[in-house]
Every structure is written in C-alpha cells, then in structure tokens.
C-alpha cells in the first residue's frame, strides 16, 4: 500500500493510492486532502489505477472530498478504476455520482491540465 500526493496546477491536486484503499489508509488520505483544501486546492483527482480494493470508509472519504471540493466551486475526479473497484462503485451507484475517467491522461485532458 502507498499513498502519494502531487499538484497538477495550483488549484488541482492528485492523490495516487495503490493496494487496498480501506479504513487503514483513510486517516492519512483525509489528512492530505484537508491540507490540500486548506492550501487552495479546489479540484482533487484520485488516481486509483493500482488499487485492487475499496471499502465503505474509502468511499466515504471520497464522498466527503467531493462535497468539500464542490463547496469551493471545484470537483472530485476519479481515474483508473480496475474491475473489482468498479464493481463496488456500481453496487453503490457511486459511478453515477462521480466523474470517472479511464486513466490519468483522460483526466488531465478533461481538466485541460
């Protein structure tokens, strides 16, 4: 499992997670997100290309992040969902709520970054 954060633009940040995205990773990710939002980030991209599992607490942190981004006039974007992860999003119908792209390049193109 690893989590890395980077900036695409001054207002757009990318969080890359690998392995399991579950309750154990949530506190660290929540802390990173809170820091980014406090520093002016309005758009957050979660790159999940190397994630093989998400649980309900991971979904909750993504929903919270989307809420906070929208409050700031921004949005949350997801990319690179593998099949087991996509199934969870479909089961919870969160695939209808998030903007989801096949990979990071598509997300960049959509953001013009």
């Amino acid at each position: 499992m690893s989590i890395t954060s980077s900036s695409l633009t001054p207002s757009t940040a990318v969080i890359t997670v690998s392995g399991r995205f579950d309750a154990h990773q949530v506190p660290k990710i929540q802390k990173d997100v809170d820091g980014m939002l406090a520093n002016g980030t309005t758009v957050v991209v979660f790159d999940l290309s190397d994630v093989n599992f998400v649980d309900s607490s991971a979904l909750a942190v993504m929903v919270r992040t989307m809420k906070h981004c929208r409050e700031r006039g921004g949005e949350l974007i997801l990319c690179g969902l593998r099949q087991p992860v996509r199934i969870i999003f479909e089961l919870t119908r969160m695939d209808k709520a998030f903007r989801i792209f096949d990979d990071m390049q598509q997300a960049r193109n959509a953001l013009g970054a």
């Binding site: 607490s57 979904l59 929903v63 919270r64 809420k67 089961l91 119908r93 969160m94 209808k96 709520a97």
Partner: protein
C-alpha cells in the same frame, strides 16, 4: 432540500422506529437539508406525537401522522400528505410488513413509493429486507408450503411494484445482487446500515454487580421467539447456573399482538425472567450495559440487524442463530458471537454457557463487536444518500427547476442559527 420520510418513529413502536430515530438525528445536521417532515403512523388511542422544538444548528423537524398499520387506505393518505407538505423528495424507510400484518394492507401500502413517483415527487425506498431471503414459514408470514408459494409469487409482484420507485437502497451487498439478477433492474444500490453512534466511547466491559443478565431485545412473536430462551434458561439452571436473570426487553411485533402476555404465563414458574415492555430511547443504554450476553432468539432472519449494531456499540457479547444469511451478513459486517441451532434449545444453552464460563471470551467478543459497530457512521452514509437524492431530483424536471428557483439564502434561514 426538504425531505419527507415515510416511516415509523418513536414513540411509535413499529419496526424500524429505532433506525429512523438515528437516521433523522444525523440527517438534521446536514447543511443540505433545510427541513425534514416525518410522515409517521398514527399512535394508538389518538395520542399525539411530541412536536420537536427548533434546535440550533439542526434542520427543522415536523411530524405528521399519515398512515395506520393494517389500514387499506394508507397509500391514499400518504399521497395526500405528500401533496400537502410538498417536499423535494420522499424517502420510504420500509420492510415488507411495514404497512400491515394482513397481506392486503401490507401490499397496498407498498405501492405508495410508485404512486409517489407517478405524482412527480422523487421517490426513494430504503428496504431493510427482501422477500427472496425471508423464510416465510418460520418468520410467521405463511402457515404452510402452499401459502408460502403464493406469498412468494405475491412478493415478486410487490417487489416489482416497489422497484418502480426512482431508487431502492438495500443494506446488504447480497440483496443488491439478488435483485439485479432476478429483476434485471438498474435502480437498486447498496447503502450500508451505518453505525448509530459517532465515535461512541469505548464501552466498559466489566459487569455490574448482581445476577448475570441474559438479555434479548426487539419486537417479539413472529421470527423473534422467547420460548427457546426459556427452555435454555431451565437447562442452564439445571446445569448449576443459579445466578442468572433473563430480560426480555421490548414489545410484541405488530404482527403478533398478545404474544408476550402468553410468554409471561408460560414462565410464571421462573421468577428470574423479567419483561420490560417497550424500551424508550433513553433507557436503551442501561438495558444493554446491564447485559452479560445478548441473545438473538430468531427462527428466521429478515436481513441485517439493528439490534446487533446496538449490542456492538455497547460492547456486548452476543449469541446468534446459525440460519440463512444471518451468519454471512454479520461476518461481512465484522461481528462475531457464539452460534446455536434454532431447533435445539440445548445448543442455545451451551452457547450462552461458553460466554458465561469465560470472561476473556465475553470481553473479546464485546470488543470485536464494538469495533464492528464503529464502522461507517450513519452520518457518512447519509452523505451517500444526499448524492442519490440530488441525482433523482434531477430526473424530475419540475422539481429540479423549483429547487433551483428556491436555492436562495432564505431557505437556509429555516434552520435556527447557533448562538454566536
């Protein structure tokens, strides 16, 4: 967003009232919610619901009695109430027998989410069980196989009707998969049950002085049966456990009125069996904290268990039936306990004894269940619901347009502001 919720609610005693209480408590804290109107069942003898006072920082709450258990006119009354309060969305907090113990009343009531949608109000159902996994005979809904077959057919029809709501939320992944497969539907989704307490404090695993309490909690008489617990108590006493008290906390199921009175007569020779009657919200912690072990004397199950979530939040060890999908469901949720065969009181007595005999095991189960109960808080689950609400409101153009027109700061002013 003004939401109307068709539900039971305390002090009403219908099933799911406890879940509704915690759901509404968390919902009122959400900034997106400007008003909550509960369309609840009539209280007995024309009693009135206490109208909640405005509370700083919480969305206003109105309680409007709009239906009656076992009435055939519920759909009409509820629709009239919906039109009267004119919400942005209507959520139904339901299980299959919510509207009645008679098949006609139960089925007619379940048409209401569809009728609500036809009336152009966004309509979502939180369905706590599905017919496909209920053992109808054991749960007391069908007297024989022929009746069970007929009910399954009717259940399939009623489910199809329910699926005409804009969205149907289920609390267990397996239920979503079953409905996807059987009904080829795209409008069902998983929304976890959620834990009732946000950051509940670590419970005290020590026991209060006095007799050890073997407790069961719920609404009894259909698939929650006391007989086996009484048999198990007799067996435990004959095995030498002479410091036990059995507490039956709760009331009759609406589908089995008079059941607990029968049980009181059946155990008149057991002075250490206590029936609490209906347990009010403020007494719930005391009841759980006094219990050495919480028993789930179910002959069938109808889905995830709110009582199990409560037992977990108070760090209690539990004894559970080895039936149907119950073990699978609770294991998925991270809970554990001692198991028994619901056809054999000896296995129940033995399961209780394993916890009574080992304080270490009791505390281990209590801690595990506490940790499981601290999963996703219901407040987080509600953020999911809010996303779904927005999506289905957008499907009703008139409602969506009205919401856009009303999206002014004046709406937020409905909420009493906290003192500076």
């Amino acid at each position: 967003m003004h939401i109307a919720i068709v539900t039971t609610y305390p002090p009403g005693k219908g099933t799911l009232n406890e879940y509704a209480y915690h759901f509404v408590r968390a919902l009122r804290t959400k900034e997106e919610i400007t008003r909550v109107t509960l369309l609840v069942d009539d209280l007995p003898d024309g009693a009135a619901y206490p109208q909640p006072e405005a509370t700083a920082g919480l969305a206003p709450l109105d309680i409007v009695p709009s239906w009656r258990f076992d009435s055939a006119t519920n759909a009409w009354r509820i629709l009239r109430a919906v039109r009267s309060v004119d919400p942005d969305i209507v959520l139904y907090n339901l299980q299959f027998a919510s509207f009645g113990g008679t098949k006609a009343a139960a089925s007619l009531g379940l048409t209401t989410p569809w009728l609500t949608r036809l009336a152009d109000y966004p309509s979502m159902v939180l369905l706590h069980n599905i017919m496909e996994t209920v053992d109808l005979q054991n749960a007391g809904y069908a007297a024989n196989r022929a009746m069970e077959s007929a009910m399954r057919l009717a259940g399939t029809t009623v489910t199809r009707v329910l699926l005409n709501a804009d969205l149907v939320a289920l609390t267990i992944p397996k239920y979503v998969e079953i409905l996807h497969a059987k009904y080829n539907t795209k409008n069902v989704l998983l929304a976890p049950h959620g834990s009732f307490e946000d950051n509940a404090p670590m419970p005290n695993f020590e026991l209060p002085p006095g007799p050890r309490q073997v407790m069961t909690f719920g609404k009894f008489g259909t698939y929650k049966r006391v007989e086996m617990m009484l048999d198990a108590l007799r067996l435990l006493e004959s095995d030498g456990y002479d410091d036990l008290e059995m507490v039956v906390a709760g009331s009759d199921s609406p589908n089995a009125r008079g059941y607990l009175d029968q049980m009181k007569q059946a155990c008149a020779d057991l002075p250490n069996v206590h029936f609490t009657g209906y347990v009010s919200e403020e007494d719930v912690p005391r009841i759980f904290q006094a219990a050495t072990v919480v028993i789930f004397p179910y002959t069938s199950t109808t889905g995830s268990s709110g009582v199990l979530h409560q037992a977990g939040s108070y760090g209690r060890a539990v004894v559970l039936p080895k039936i149907g999908d119950f073990a699978e469901v609770i294991t998925e949720e991270g809970y554990d306990g001692e198991f028994f065969n619901p056809a054999d009181a000896r296995t129940l007595a033995d399961a209780i004894a394993r916890i009574l005999d080992s304080d270490e095991r009791r505390k281990e189960l209590g801690l595990r269940n506490y940790m499981a109960s601290q999963g996703l808080p219901i407040a987080d689950v509600l953020d999911w619901y809010l996303l779904h609400f927005e999506e289905i409101i957008a499907r009703h153009p008139k409602r969506a347009a009205r919401r856009r027109a009303l999206a002014t700061p004046s709406l937020a002013s409905e909420r009493v502001q906290p003192a500076p």
